[in-house]
Amino acid sequence: MTANDRQIRPGFPALRPVGLSGMLVSFSDRLEEPANRAALAFRAAVEAERKAGIAETATSLASVFLRFDPEVLSHDALSDWLQGLLAARDWYAAALPGGRRLIRVPTLYGTDLAPQLEEAAAAAGMGVEAAIADLGTTRVRVLTIGFAPGQPYLGPLGADWDLPRQTALTAQVPVGALVLAVRQFVLFAASSPTGWRHVGQTAFRCFRPEAAAPFALRPGDEMLFEPVSKPEFLRIAARATDGAGGAVIGEIAE
């Protein structure tokens, strides 16, 4: 198989500079499962090489970002090195990272605490009950962490949930808000404005700066947002002082 045969989209993987000291390795220009796995595996490989001049790495949905020192490692030298690493194997066929966990989070769907469930369900062509049943039983994966500290982009949701972002921003959703658009959830790590629809509320904090492990989630982890009633949610939220919000964590056997 040649490198060309492996490509799932023409023009990818692509290397492009970001600012003066960044390089982006993109595996696709849209969210696709193999591109997401490729990004996670490629980042792990870059980290393992510990190459001088590379300061840090990060993944987004379908790409890897490298921040580097162009005084130590020129753009051309970095590009050549990355091309070599890209050619070393079929990154789109990479397995998910090891040590993945399933995190089950008690979630209040709808009510005044998550006021856009009805609207989102209608846009997806379902009733509210069916929407809760569907969202509450779909295991979603942490595709990437970004925007705010520890904040996961989770997916994929079923095809019914391919809803566009709202054109107008919701002024503010609270920490722990579960919002939905484009077949993904985001679980908000900080209070923030958003163009996504606020369908659920949790007491789960993704970022716990005071804790030994400040970032609660890792790419590859899976999450399940299990429905609870409003009184139960309020009880959990009042009790949860550690940021876990009543979440139950288990290992995923590979």
Binding site: P17, L20, A58, S63, G146, F147, P209
Partner: protein, 336 residues
């Protein structure tokens, strides 16, 4: 413990250092001083490490009292500064003796002024840095009643001043192309370079909105873009097609298209541009940009040797008659 007691502070005074690099993959942007150059200037004036923390003061100063004898330096956006009612120079270092009060007024130009302590501000480090990151909920703004502890000061001269070029009134910004630059048509890019922008009303440590008359700057296929990594300096075109330049406390990913990236050494000009200040963009090649950064790095390296003794204007000395001004005069009639 010596330090600075806060008697009064503006709404957005935060402890800042060079920030926390290394957490981009966890969604935490580097943060740190909005004007990193001011940190290096303060360190040069006090003869200390530029990694130490200082107080970043947005817009309006405050009143601070020394608890213990301190050395201080004032850099960044110039503010009216007084020690116990006597005017003192900006871009300079001063002694602030125990019990003395430093009063800082509103900025006279720019946005962010910096108050440095000898030994730095020694608040606890969180995730490796002292920089308050408001967007991430790391730390909080300084409020009246707080004590800012001073780190151990190895001591040194005060009464030194630094010549500082103006970066407090907008100006020309060099931009390099980025991942999404090709999404903007060539004529849109040309119009972008030809437009005189002004800093808009929305500005904080996350970013700065710019205004301009006329048509906005739209990318092709603007709504279909996959969320992608953001770096400080990125010029994001939001829904209305107006530029929003991202600063150190920005989010780490975003779905709005970015026409290019302001190069790091020009970014303090963006952070310090006051509302209404003119700003223009000019695309440069990577080679030109790297050369500009190298020149900037050598300017920073030279700052340590740049401070000169402060020349006091006699009008600034309230008790001038109390000074013995003629001791050391020699008589022309005596043999040496």
């Amino acid at each position: 413990m010596s330090g600075l007691r806060v008697h009064q502070a503006g709404p957005a005074c935060t402890v800042q250092d060079p920030g926390r690099p290394g957490f981009l993959g966890q969604g935490l942007s580097r943060g740190g001083a909005a004007d990193p150059l001011a940190l290096v200037e303060g360190a040069a004036l006090l003869g200390q490490d530029a990694g130490l923390a200082a107080l970043e003061i947005a817009g309006f100063g405050g009143v601070f009292e020394a608890e213990g004898d301190l050395r201080i330096a004032l850099t960044g956006a110039p503010m009216a500064a007084e020690i116990d009612g006597a005017r003192v120079a900006w871009n300079a270092s001063h002694a602030l003796m125990a019990g003395q009060r430093l009063s800082l007024g509103a900025v006279r130009a720019g946005c962010y002024g910096y108050l440095h302590l000898g030994g730095g501000i020694d608040t606890p480090r969180v995730l490796g840095a002292r920089a308050v990151h408001l967007a991430a909920g790391l730390g909080r703004a300084v409020a009246a009643g707080d004590q800012l502890p001073a780190g151990r000061d190895r001591g040194g001269e005060t009464g030194l001043a630094l010549e500082v070029a103006d970066r407090f009134s907008g100006g020309a910004l060099r931009v390099v192309e980025g991942v999404q630059t090709p999404l903007f048509a060539l004529d849109v890019r040309a119009r972008f370079e030809a437009t005189e922008f002004v800093r808009g009303g929305r500005a904080n440590r996350m970013g700065v909105a710019l205004d301009c008359p006329g048509e906005g700057f739209a990318a092709e296929g603007q709504l279909a873009i996959l969320s992608e990594v953001i770096v400080p300096g990125d010029i994001q075109m939001t829904g209305d097609g107006r530029p929003f330049v991202l600063l150190p406390e920005c989010q780490t990913t975003g779905g709005y298209p970015r026409i290019g990236t302001v190069i790091p050494c020009d970014l303090p000009k963006v952070a310090q541009a006051p509302a209404g200040a003119p700003l223009r963009f000019c695309f440069v090649s990577r080679a030109v940009a790297l050369e500009a950064e190298a020149r900037h790095a050598s300017h920073l390296a030279g700052l340590r040797r740049a401070p000169r003794p402060l020349v006091r204007h006699p009008g600034d000395i309230p008790d001038l008659l109390g000074y013995q001004l003629i001791s050391g005069a020699v008589s022309a009639h005596h043999e040496p």
